[in-house]
Symmetry: C2
Subunit: 515 residues, 2 copies
Amino acid sequence: MRFAAGAQDISVSASPYKQLEQEFKRLHALRGALSLLRWDAAVMMPRGSADIRGEQLAALETEHHALLTAPRISRLLDRAQANEQGMEDWQIANLREMRRERDHAIATPVSLISRLTKAVSRAEVCWLDARAQGRFDQFAPHLEEVVHLVRDKAALLGQALNLAPYDALVDEFSPGITTVDIDTMFKALSRRLPALIREAIAEQEGRPPQPLAGKFPLAKQRALIVEIMKQIGFPFDRGRLDESEHPFTEGVPGDIRVTTRLDATDPFTGLLGALHETGHAMYDLGLPQDWRDQPVGRDRGMALEESQSLLMEMIVCRSRPFARYVLPLLEKHFAVSGPEWDVENLYAHLTRVRRGSIRVDADELTYPLHILLRYELEKQLLFGELAVRDLPEAWNAGMQQRLGIRPANDTEGCLQDVHWSVGSFGYFPSYALGAVIAAQLYESLRSDVPALDEQLARGEFSGLLGWLRTNVYGLGAKVPVQDLLRGATGKTLSAAAYIRYAEAKYLGPAASEAA
Amino acid sequence: MRFAAGAQDISVSASPYKQLEQEFKRLHALRGALSLLRWDAAVMMPRGSADIRGEQLAALETEHHALLTAPRISRLLDRAQANEQGMEDWQIANLREMRRERDHAIATPVSLISRLTKAVSRAEVCWLDARAQGRFDQFAPHLEEVVHLVRDKAALLGQALNLAPYDALVDEFSPGITTVDIDTMFKALSRRLPALIREAIAEQEGRPPQPLAGKFPLAKQRALIVEIMKQIGFPFDRGRLDESEHPFTEGVPGDIRVTTRLDATDPFTGLLGALHETGHAMYDLGLPQDWRDQPVGRDRGMALEESQSLLMEMIVCRSRPFARYVLPLLEKHFAVSGPEWDVENLYAHLTRVRRGSIRVDADELTYPLHILLRYELEKQLLFGELAVRDLPEAWNAGMQQRLGIRPANDTEGCLQDVHWSVGSFGYFPSYALGAVIAAQLYESLRSDVPALDEQLARGEFSGLLGWLRTNVYGLGAKVPVQDLLRGATGKTLSAAAYIRYAEAKYLGPAASEAA
């Protein structure tokens, strides 16, 4: 059955600012629809329907772009900006975010975006094949085309936003973060991490964890994950948990869709994937409700998003308190028992440090080095300092230098990530920024909530979430990320807390508590 | 992760007709997105997310309406129409369908549609409560408001389309069908059906079917349904089967989503629901591939849609040949056996005629009388000949007169259907038209494919689908429905074939084959 639906009309007698709110409410609804289409494509869609979905996504993106770049929006922005006196802080911040969005959308001509979209859709298909067969040579011409177009886009974006080209790309994903911030962070990490990794591995080699054997049927894994997510506070009447090839979070606050990937031989893959995504979801769900359909009510970019998933997964859940909480649940759901099922052995599994080729399998100490390599290479590719054909060798040399290992082939090397094939340059740094921001927030959180560990060991997440609601979630996009950090931690972005956290966790007295 | 996507640009150097094709391709993609949002709302969406989904649907409807009613479309339509010489038949038909769509969209002012949308969304919520509690008095003011607004809409639509107001409403769902066609059909049905029902019930009372007992676990029901749908040819790589409160079909050819409702005590509810929807799906999947994103490539309205679902469910699957095919599958999937599991007893279950209050539970003989009642009442409501407050009594009197039964309460009476609460007037006739068209097509199909029964008994659907592809599916919306019928059956719409079919099935020698 198809039933008539209708149209909303926007009152033109409202103030320019109020008219903008109405326009961005429509844009928000379109973005929500786009998000659902992407979720469905990864979780529900029949395999043969990808082309059709691609057309639907493109049509909605086009409408979103057309609405956002309409001359009417620019006129309203100018008129609203001339009337900022008397507006509330939130509204002024909202106006700033509206302008930012419009500036990004309008900076690149539709013809360039269209060429990039087509190049990217060819490149992604080719990348899938090339990765499966370890044939970088087949992928190279496509990557070359994408790099050229992204270079043009970066130049135009940079001009329009008054930023260096690479900074303009970063600004799309993590507004308020610059190359200077990223370089400073990576410099500090490069200075300490390689030795820290060596020491942690040496420390762990003395007491290798005992294997955690058992039977882990998928239905029981699902039940365990749902129980823990409910305990954290994930609202299953306004969200879902499903399975997909790679874990992700989509949707909008009020309809959040989390996925994970289950492995019948290992319950931790699915659980930790779900907890990572629950970190994203709790952030999104905690965004200011009153502004939920406005730009100022959104998350504060990918670096902060990733800080929330890593804080939840890496810091909160790969911890002794969490191991204490989760051990009885593992025993209950999987009927496991035996001396190896104890807190210290579980904790040893959750915090194992190992050098490996694959980013998504990396532990929290080696992970930033994977990102550093990608950050350096993608800048070299964009600035013409590295030819696409020389990427595999540069990758392998970088891995050797940074992590002391050489990938067995390009599938485990420069072909492992999807990002470049889909034109996402400037995105990788947000992963490392997220790790650093997570540790910085956590240091203040611990000092503000002294009972945190005891709470977590009891499965109580209210202290954690209360602090995050006040200091992160509830701010939405009201202030720039550096201001948010200063408010929450007293400092702007710095890798110092991350290094303190890593040293204490992997080398401090607690690291060898069981020894 | 969020990746950049892009915009399509429409070349302005193409001919007006080609430009229109591009515009309608975008509209098609938007409609596909809307369809997915509706599917998700009924099948996957968390319960608490309905408000958000409502906003997303409204935003997409608004964009669809804005694109379709843009002055540019009208200009292009005029210019294209002036250049029809040299265009192919298909293209001329496409232009006609484009204009029809635009005419419908532009006839009603946005302000009226907006008021109707709001009234309808209040009315539907209230209807759910009123139905649950049997409180028509609570629903009446909302229905009154909806009736008023639909009356205004019908008047404006009628003026714009040069049709009588009620015909204009029918035209939205079943273009090419008029009140005269509907009245003629119902007159013929009213003349024969009441006696036919009496005779069929008397005939069946002499040999009541034996109960079909067994255990029918839902997972096995699903497996049975999937096996049969695959056998019919439903492509699970370009479609899905799920469960929902009411069976429906959504999606677009290439990504068709069918649902059914399973009942653990009765395997036929779920199976026949799925087969009904498979009839819709096979029609949609068989629409002309070359025109899949154009108006001329769509289905030929709800009357023809319903003819395809009823042909599949009522005629093809509630038959002896299908009972022969499906009996071994029932035995295999449910491990049932015994003398009651034989073709004649199964067939007796599939064709049982009973007078009841509920439309969706009605058999194929009593069903048109349920529709006739609604058709008469909705016209009286719209023309002011029946006050909303008098509806329950008019309903009950009509049921008494047409079907000889009086509903126990309004929940089983005038509150049972959602249609009026959501403003769908002019929709009900398509159900009865579908039954009549199905029988008319089937009569020609049987004569063109003499081996049909033997094929169906072997689970071979190629003869059936081949004929439908040639005579129905493959035409899309190229010709008006009456021309389609003339081409397929040599006659325009007539209830004669339906009556012949019903007499043969329920009273003819085959009806008592087992006696």
